[in-house]
């Protein structure tokens, strides 16, 4: 049955493609996990890109040229990704959107680069992907070290001068704390307390008492929500009113339950915006369109990143760049493209430029509210 439906789908697709490929279409590949553990993310990526491509084609394409979308499944697995990349390369696509996992993207990077195909990854945050000096590689998601820069920017903007920086010795939280510390060097913000607590414990009063003695005006704990909840709760119990911030590992509804709404009120954390919270005009229009077509919202922001990748390619085509070399040069110099998740540009390495992390504040009822940009 499954085989039959796949065959039927392929046949319809083939027929549909025959119908539209009379003019010299722009061939765009999409590599996403349609099976395997990340299939739900892949489904979103596919839905997002298909919707945007349909909209463009309905309006007669870009500069009269329609877009032909070729979708390949990478199964969330590096080996399948290498096969998918070879298939797309032999279909002679000019650019490829995808994919989600860093290891999966890495397996396909060199294949695209050698075939001179522009690749725009959408969920692969591993730092080294853009450290290889590949000319044709871009990504619309931030790197793993972008959050530390975002944290430092928020701390500076809110005007804190003496901060306490705490992590839990996990590689994620420690990395975030170190990157924040490095980003704050020479900015006039003093780090008066820097230490690690032991995750999984219940009692952090000794840590808090010591922190209080250093007299910080702000606490940044980079770890996960269970410890964050305990810290907030015990800080309140001590009667210590100091603002506290977290990273995106604190983004969990149980945080407020653990801390209690009173203790959690006013706490804020950095996180990628949830799809329903994205507040740009482009995002609102896109989400309304998405909801009308698929009767639901994207499950996470990563699927929407595939839409951002399409916006990048669309912008290049509108500027009359149709070969992969031209598109790559255009994107390396692009600034302020109106992407769905916010304005977007790319640097020389192919990393996205522009803010992505947003601040969520816990309100009095315990709900997470997106802090408006100003």
């Amino acid at each position: 049955m499954k085989k039959f439906s796949t065959a039927a789908l392929a046949l319809t697709l083939a027929l549909a493609l025959c119908g539209t490929s009379l003019a010299a279409d722009f061939k765009l590949g999409l590599m996403c996990p349609q099976t395997g553990k990340w299939a739900s993310e892949g489904m979103d990526m596919k839905n997002v890109v298909m919707l945007l491509v349909d909209n463009v084609n309905k309006q007669g394409g870009i500069n009269g040229q329609k877009i032909e979308l070729i979708i390949e499944d990478d199964a969330g697995d590096p080996r399948s990704a290498a096969l998918a990349a070879q298939k797309l390369a032999s279909s002679e696509v000019t650019a490829v959107i995808g994919t989600y996992g860093s290891a999966v993207t890495e397996a396909s990077q060199n294949i695209y680069d050698e075939s001179e195909i522009v690749q725009i990854a959408t969920g692969s945050t591993s730092i080294r992907l853009t450290e290889k000096g590949l000319r044709y590689f871009f990504r619309t998601c931030p790197r793993d070290d972008a959050q530390g820069l975002a944290a430092a920017a928020v701390i500076k903007k809110k005007g804190f001068k003496n901060i306490a920086l705490v992590h839990d010795n996990s590689s994620y939280a420690k990395g975030l704390a170190e990157e924040t510390r490095d980003a704050l060097k020479g900015s006039g913000v003093n780090i008066v307390f820097y230490d690690a607590l032991t995750p999984g414990e219940r009692d952090y009063t000794a840590t808090l008492t010591k922190m209080k003695a250093a007299n910080p005006d702000f606490i940044f704990f980079t770890g996960y929500y269970p410890e964050t909840g305990m810290l907030l709760r015990q800080k309140k119990e001590m009667g210590w009113n100091v603002p506290m911030m977290g990273g995106d590992a604190a983004n969990h509804a149980d945080l407020v339950k653990i801390a209690g709404p009173d203790a959690a009120a006013g706490y804020f954390f950095l996180s990628p915006p949830l799809p329903q919270d994205m507040d740009t005009e482009a995002a609102k229009a896109f989400l309304a369109d998405f909801k009308a077509t698929y009767k639901s919202l994207p499950v996470s922001v990563w699927g929407v990143m595939a839409g951002d990748a399409f916006v990048a390619i669309e912008a290049a085509l509108k500027a009359g760049k149709t070969t992969s070399a031209d598109i790559a040069d255009f994107l390396h110099n692009a600034k302020d493209l109106p992407a769905i998740t916010g304005t977007m540009g790319f640097d020389k390495k192919g990393d996205r430029v522009g803010d992505f992390y947003r601040v969520y504040v816990v309100d009095k009822t315990g709900a997470f509210k997106l802090e408006p940009k100003n």
């Binding site: 999984g200 000794a206 008492t209 003695a213 149980d254």
Partner: protein
Amino acid sequence: MEFFVQQLLNGLAVGGIYALVALGYTMVYGVLKLINFAHGDLFAVGAYLGLTLLVSCHLGQTLPPFFAVLLVFVLVALMVALVGYLLERVAYRPLRGAGRLSAVVSALGASIFFENALMLIYGARVFVYPDFLRPDFTVTLFGYQIPGMRLLVIAVSVVLMIALQIFMLRTKVGAAMRAVAIDQGAARLMGINVNRIISLVFLIGPGLGGAAGILVGIYYGQIDFLMGWSYGLKAFTAAILGGIGNIPGAMVGGLLLGVVEAMASAYFAVAWKDAVAFFVLILILIVRPTGFLCERTADKL
């Protein structure tokens, strides 16, 4: 000075819970010379059962909080005591003649069993005790503001320790337990039902552990299926520090470990807290290999 006193109080409150859990380790060891590694997990079972009774059975809503908590304490202590009894029947009694190592391996197996059972039944996420149960008052003592719940934790540990000590030293059953601890064969010849005494030990120890689980749940709010392991390890350390097998020793060891940890965080580094605490433990054991309060045993010739 204020900083020091504050950290001392922090340490004592943590130590109070270590002591409460350590009582269960030390009782079982005192009688059977068996380290019941599953004790920490029985403590976690108590925390989960307490939450189930309070939330799913709506005890927290239908009764005034004080009585609800009291009732849950009694019910959970009884239920965990029953689990402890079954554990002894299933995992320890068949191995009693088989040497100590087999029993220790069986205890480790039981510990893994309980952890995973909790995870499969309740799920791997963190659970939270309802907030309204927590007594929210502050006591001012010598000019220091101390959350009332911290004093309560220490008070409960001390009261239970004293009650247990009186039970062991002043009652007939307690005397029988001490007799079994010294020599099972001789105790049997004196007309003591050794199996029944050992079952009783496995009722009292886990019962206390279950009660400690609820105390942690109510005070800290947050429970998870792995909490038994981390608290168990610390409590076991506390029992050894105080002299395993000795009931006041568990109390002294627990409080001491809590205070050493707090002082290590305060004057060294938070990240090095455990390393310093265990370094102190090693030093103490080098000087006094049997722990602070030596286990009193009859000389065997």
